[in-house]
Subunit: 199 residues, 2 copies
DNA sequence: ACCTGAACACCGTTCAAGT
DNA sequence: ACCTGAACACCGTTCAAGT
């Protein structure tokens, strides 16, 4: 076995902000946000909880900020998006489907996204949506409004899906009937995209 | 002073679920969700924290469920909404503005709303939106989709507003320029409402 | 019926100390 | 530079006890 300088005496990779964030996300996805504690996170990383503070001096606040950035910052890959897609509307539709999937995959992080924490995290995402709309022919102001409307719809819809598919929603589904969330999302998305005029 | 049977020996009103929820909301609005603890809530109610469990046996979970219901359950006042408004589109617009104001007033509860907790809390709201759209002439399926799209937009936009107006967003506003959120919300709302066909 | 007090098993974080 | 161990001030909640 080749010597690996990155591996320390205890034969495990050293701590890093990335590894910490990933371990935290794994705990959230598996057990829920409420069970993410510094001590449990330390256990998952095979380290004392206090070691985390060496990499995240602001502690748990900084950890949650990092999670918001990790999940929420998904720009639309500006150069590639328009080339691969059949027009800007299709590019936005693809982005929206991807972003929704990302949010639902890490639904436990959603509560952190609807908070004032790490406000810059979604800036790049909004900017890239706005730019696609501008290249689609929209003036500055309507493009900015449409970008926010689209992002708001995707965020809000993810929230409704989380609520509607929760375990406790079984009684709800019994009275209201089951909902096909994929269809519902696509329908709402088309509603929003069709309201954006040019194209 | 007239004798008040509701007032006990310590000369304060007895605990009730409503008073507990209102005190909790007051703490959240003033200090943030993170500072809502059973002990602090007890202090605010001039009672030991453990007394709360007599009214909310499931403890903090039940308290948070109640907060979701209190803030999130705002149906569109079906009988009155259409009479007072100039058509269903105007009725939905009014509801959306009211609901947004409510969410922003209690922004600290928003993270609880994007969770699977108390899934029934928003059912009445969705149902009344759907009914307005039906009375506007929409068939069942498009009405259900449009109701969800509208609610998703309002929820998601409130989230974006919370992020955009956070203290930490000052640097963001410096680079991106300030946003008029009222205008932005109205623009997005019109976008969504205009996409809903009849009327 | 309604509330209290003490206790338990946890939290996040500081700080001095180890290597 | 990177991590540990002990300690502190909090948490939510249980349970027996008071009135």
């Amino acid at each position: 076995m080749v010597r690996q300088p990155q591996i320390n005496a205890q034969n495990r990779p050293p701590l890093s902000t990335e590894r910490i964030i990933e371990a935290a996300l794994h705990i959230i996805d598996g057990q829920g946000l409420g069970r993410l504690t510094m001590r449990r996170l330390g256990d998952a990383l095979e380290v004392e909880a206090m070691a985390i503070y060496h990499h995240l001096p602001r502690g748990k606040e900084q950890l949650l900020d990092g999670l918001v950035a990790h999940v929420g910052a998904a720009p639309a890959d500006l150069p590639g998006a328009l080339e691969r897609a059949a027009g800007w509307r299709d590019a936005l539709r693809r982005w929206a489907h991807d972003y929704r999937a990302r949010l639902l995959e890490h639904a436990g992080v959603l509560p952190l996204l609807v908070t004032g924490r790490n406000p810059a995290a979604l800036a790049e995402t909004t900017a890239s949506l706005r730019e696609i709309l501008r290249q689609g022919g929209l003036p500055e102001v309507p493009a900015a409004a449409a970008a926010h409307a689209l992002l708001a719809f995707v965020l809000g819809h993810a929230a409704l899906e989380v609520r509607g598919t929760a375990e406790g929603a079984a009684a709800l589904r019994a009275t209201e009937g089951p909902v096909d969330w994929n269809t519902r999302f696509s329908a709402g998305l088309d509603l929003v995209l069709n309201a954006v005029n040019p194209g």
